[in-house]
């Protein structure tokens, strides 16, 4: 029967140890005498992708998957992941969210706004949804105890505060499954996690100052020998040398004015200026005393 079956979701980023944490929870629940099913996804997702572990327990568990709106607790090992999975938590359930941020490099791509689409901290986000909320800084707590890597045990301690499972079972599971030699620090981290304080939310980062929009790109074609240096170094792939050796601007809009092309051109054949500014490459330039 599914009556009384409960669910819990752990979520984080590949490499954070979500799957091991899930095994610890499942092991503790088995020790507490429950039927348990745990489901997770390996493989591709583990290369820095979003990773989760569903755990369900009761007297006779059917589905290993937690349905949306049914989890007792969501434990997120990373801020953005706490948001991704929040709809799985039941009305009145709890969210334990680590304020650790792992910004994916793919979100550092907007060369106009220069801001990521990484979600801002919002302590009300969960309470607005009628969820009990615990924002914690597990890494700091673990570091204070002597090993940053015990952070996941701090999170599990925090989760344990919302579940009625005897500590004996948690501690037995932790001792069995964490790497040899780290049992003590992980047990200490687990105990600290039960009463870990609310984390201080960091202030948002200021917007950048200065113009970084498309610049004018001046090319002196009679000086350019088509060596390809500038086009190979342009971080925005704005330039290309054609098959017949001519430098062309292929994506003027992408220019951010970084000037790498200008600085690295051995022949001073390319220059960058903000729109409206005077051309820096004069018609007949005098460089190092030589007229070219």
């Amino acid at each position: 029967m599914t009556d009384g079956t409960r669910g819990l979701l752990l979520a984080g980023v590949g490499g954070q140890g979500v799957i091991l944490a899930g095994m610890i929870v499942a092991d503790a629940l088995v020790r507490a005498g429950y039927d348990v099913k745990q489901s997770e996804v390996h493989g591709m997702a583990q290369r820095g992708g979003s990773v989760f572990s569903h755990i369900r327990w009761g007297s006779d568990v059917e589905s290993p998957l937690v349905e949306k709106g049914s989890a007792e607790v969501l434990a997120a090992f990373e801020w953005a992941e706490s948001i991704r999975w929040v709809e799985y938590v039941r009305d009145g359930g709890a969210v334990v969210a680590d304020i650790r941020t792992i910004v994916p490099p793919g979100s550092c791509t907007d060369r106009r706004a220069w801001s990521t689409n990484y979600p801002a901290f919002n302590a009300d986000l969960f309470s607005d949804r009628r969820l009990k909320t615990r924002l914690i800084d597990a890494s700091s707590t673990a570091t204070e105890l002597g090993n940053t890597r015990a952070a996941n045990s701090v999170i599990l301690g925090s989760v344990a505060a919302f579940l009625d499972i005897d500590d004996v079972h948690w501690e037995a599971a932790i001792s069995k499954l964490v790497p040899k030699g780290t049992q003590d620090v992980n047990l200490a981290a687990f105990r600290a996690g039960r009463s870990v304080p609310m984390a201080q939310i960091p202030a948002p980062s200021p917007d950048p100052e200065g113009f970084s929009g498309p610049h004018e790109i001046d090319i002196r074609h009679d000086w350019c020998k088509g060596c390809d240096i500038c086009s190979r170094v342009c971080p925005e792939y704005c330039l290309a040398v054609s098959v017949d050796g001519e430098l062309t601007i292929t994506n003027a809009q992408a220019c951010t004015g970084c000037r790498l092309c200008e600085m690295l051109c051995p022949d001073f054949a390319i220059a960058i200026r903000p729109p409206g500014a005077q051309a820096i490459v004069p018609e007949a330039a005098v460089i190092g005393g030589l007229t070219r």
Partner: protein, 604 residues
């Protein structure tokens, strides 16, 4: 990671095992002596979990076809043998598979095929149950870890009783689900020995013709067997409606309709048609809930049994309790679902190449060179994503080289044609493609990304690594010698951590007329050994925020709070940086330098 099932038993006989560990345990208890396969998510951990057993010979093969050939040979030699692969692996092994259905087996032979509905880690979501029908091979579908063990063990008995290979089909949610399993003892099955029988095992047309009727007659016997078999079971009460289901879908049905009449099929090919017919008579409406294609539904409809299935329960993607609930509410069995407030939007988090991945520099070069890149399957496929965006095709393991040959022959490529293939993939299915490139003197470059492991699936050994699944040393395949002997005249070996050398080697190889090969030689930073060198840091005052380092897409580098001329400077996470030096090589103002000794944060 090698999980040996035995030490986890503790003092309890019930243990928590993943579906994969449970499959392996089933083979152990059935007395299998050999287990052989090729890695592929979600099947990989089956062999890894029993690798350390002294009483079994557990090994990786070069590919799934070889694995199945090894398995058949072993079975004819008279030992029970388990073979494992992911769903697409059976495509590779299909040639052997289709004809071994004719020959039958010696001792029990079980093929575990792990499907991946939802394509969590796969290039397609084909349904293995189609192969069972095409080959007329029985197929069992466990629904959880407990059944994964018992069904696998039973599959050996069925294999021997009916003289047939048997498929145990799992899905991602069964393979990667942990559940409680009762352990039993290992049965000892001595080697029976090979019984020479050319009429049965030499499939020349004259012999094969005599085996074809045997195949159909065997299917008949299997159909009778399954009618009375405890593999099918009924639960629930009521006559308003009934549900026929199999695999993980069974648990979803029981979850959303705990009391409904359910007929669960443990063997979903061949079907217990008469049993289903009786069940159908006892209810007013009959539903079929099955993941992926409507195989059971079609078989029942063909037998004249009226059922409802697709599209109530979608054939695209995996099922879930939510999806099954939705289907039954559309059918009017369950009330309309209450909608759940959706989660606010958050940042996309696609998988990435690791910090310091040796695959990154060659793809950066290929992007700069404007190459048309026919890719292949492995971690390096991630180079197709931003910001590298340096791969144009990826179809099936080993396809890259043949596709490059064809792309070059078409004359339609707008840049040099380069095939990129991992070491494991090259040995798995790339060698015939390279022979073809030489044979047709194709003007292509083949980049063999030799990171010394099968990284994507978690770092398995292969014939090129010189180590076995147990870690013992063997002679590795010599890639340079192999390419030479195939007739490649331009072969370069490079350290991909040297960006300049990588660039010029690839450029030089592309300039060579005819097939050329570039082989990289840096190990993966994750397996077999975790590589963690002195991390690098950004000197903020020297950073001009040019974004040159960001072109590599290293996950350790992100924007900082500081800006320069309106652009964001960058910072390096010292904990995840592996110290590969790539970003430092890319940085024109030399703003990226190693963290000084004593400044290092704790990492291993």
């Amino acid at each position: 990671m090698t999980l040996d099932v035995e030490p986890r038993v503790d003092d309890r006989r019930s243990v928590l095992l993943s579906g994969n560990e449970a499959v392996a345990r089933g083979a152990v208890e059935a007395g299998a002596l050999i287990a052989v396969g090729y890695p592929g998510t979600p099947s990989t951990e089956i062999l890894e979990s029993i690798a350390a057993r002294a009483d079994m010979d557990v090994r990786w093969s070069t590919n799934e076809k070889v694995a199945l050939d090894v398995a058949l040979g072993a079975s004819l030699g008279g030992v029970r043998v388990l073979t494992t692969m992911k769903h697409v692996g059976l495509n590779v092994a299909a040639d052997t598979f289709m004809t071994m259905a004719y020959t039958g087996v010696g001792a029990g032979l079980v093929i575990v095929v792990a499907d991946d509905p939802g394509m969590h880690s796969s290039q397609n979501e084909q349904d293995t149950r189609a192969y069972a029908r095409m080959a007329r091979v029985p197929l069992l579908e466990p629904s959880d870890s407990a059944e994964a063990k018992t069904f696998t063990a039973l599959a050996f008995d069925i294999s021997e009783e009916f003289d047939t290979p048997v498929i145990v089909r799992t899905t991602t949610r069964v393979s990667h689900n942990r559940g409680v399993v009762e352990l039993g003892p290992r049965t000892e099955k001595p080697v029976v020995g090979f019984d020479r029988d050319p009429q049965k095992y030499v499939m020349i047309p004259g012999h094969a013709r005599t085996r074809r009727p045997v195949l159909l007659e065997r299917l008949d016997r299997l159909s009778k067997y399954v009618e009375g078999s405890p593999l099918s079971s009924e639960s629930g009460t009521g006559s308003e409606f009934g549900v026929v289901t199999s695999g993980i879908a069974h648990h979803y049905v029981r979850e959303v309709l705990p009391d409904a009449r359910v007929l669960k099929l443990g063997m979903s090919y061949p079907l217990p048609i008469e049993r289903v017919r009786d069940f159908a008579r006892s209810v007013d409406r009959l539903f079929v809930v099955e993941e992926l294609d409507p195989w059971v539904e079609n078989d029942l409809l063909a037998a004249g049994i009226d059922v409802e299935g697709k599209p109530l329960f979608p054939q695209i993607g995996e099922l879930s309790p939510d999806a099954v609930r939705k289907g039954f509410s559309e059918a009017g069995i369950l009330p309309k679902q209450i909608s759940i407030e959706p989660a606010p939007s958050t940042v996309a988090r696609p998988p990435l190449l690791c910090p310091g991945c040796p695959h990154t520099p060659p793809f950066l070069a290929l992007k700069r060179l404007g190459a048309v890149v026919t890719g292949d399957i492995g971690c390096y496929t991630l180079a197709a994503l931003q910001p590298l965006s340096a791969m144009d095709t990826c179809i099936a393991m080993g396809s890259s080289i043949g596709m490059a040959v064809g792309m070059a022959a078409s004359g339609g490529a707008d840049g040099p044609v380069v095939a990129t293939v991992g070491d494991s993939t090259f040995l798995h299915g790339g060698i015939p493609g390279l022979a073809d490139a030489v044979y047709s003197q194709a003007n292509i470059t083949v980049l063999i990304l030799d990171n010394g492991t099968t990284a994507m699936t978690g770092g398995q050994e292969h014939p090129g690594t010189g180590t076995t699944l147990q870690g013992s040393e063997v002679t590795p395949v010599d890639l340079v010698g192999l390419c030479e002997s195939l007739g490649v005249r331009d072969i370069r070996v490079i350290d991909p951590y040297d960006m300049g050398a990588t660039f010029s080697a690839i450029e030089g190889a592309i300039a060579h007329v005819g097939p050329s090969v570039v082989i990289t030689n840096r190990p993966c930073v994750e397996a077999p050994t975790k590589v963690r060198d002195t991390p690098y840091q950004v000197v903020a005052d020297a950073c001009t925020a040019c974004q040159a380092c960001m072109t590599a897409g290293c996950p350790s580098i992100v924007w900082s709070e500081e800006t320069y001329e309106g652009r964001r400077k960058v910072v390096i996470d010292p904990v995840t940086c592996t110290g590969c030096t790539l970003c430092a090589q890319l940085c024109p103002p030399l703003a990226i330098i190693p963290v000084r000794v004593g400044e290092e944060s704790d990492h291993d």
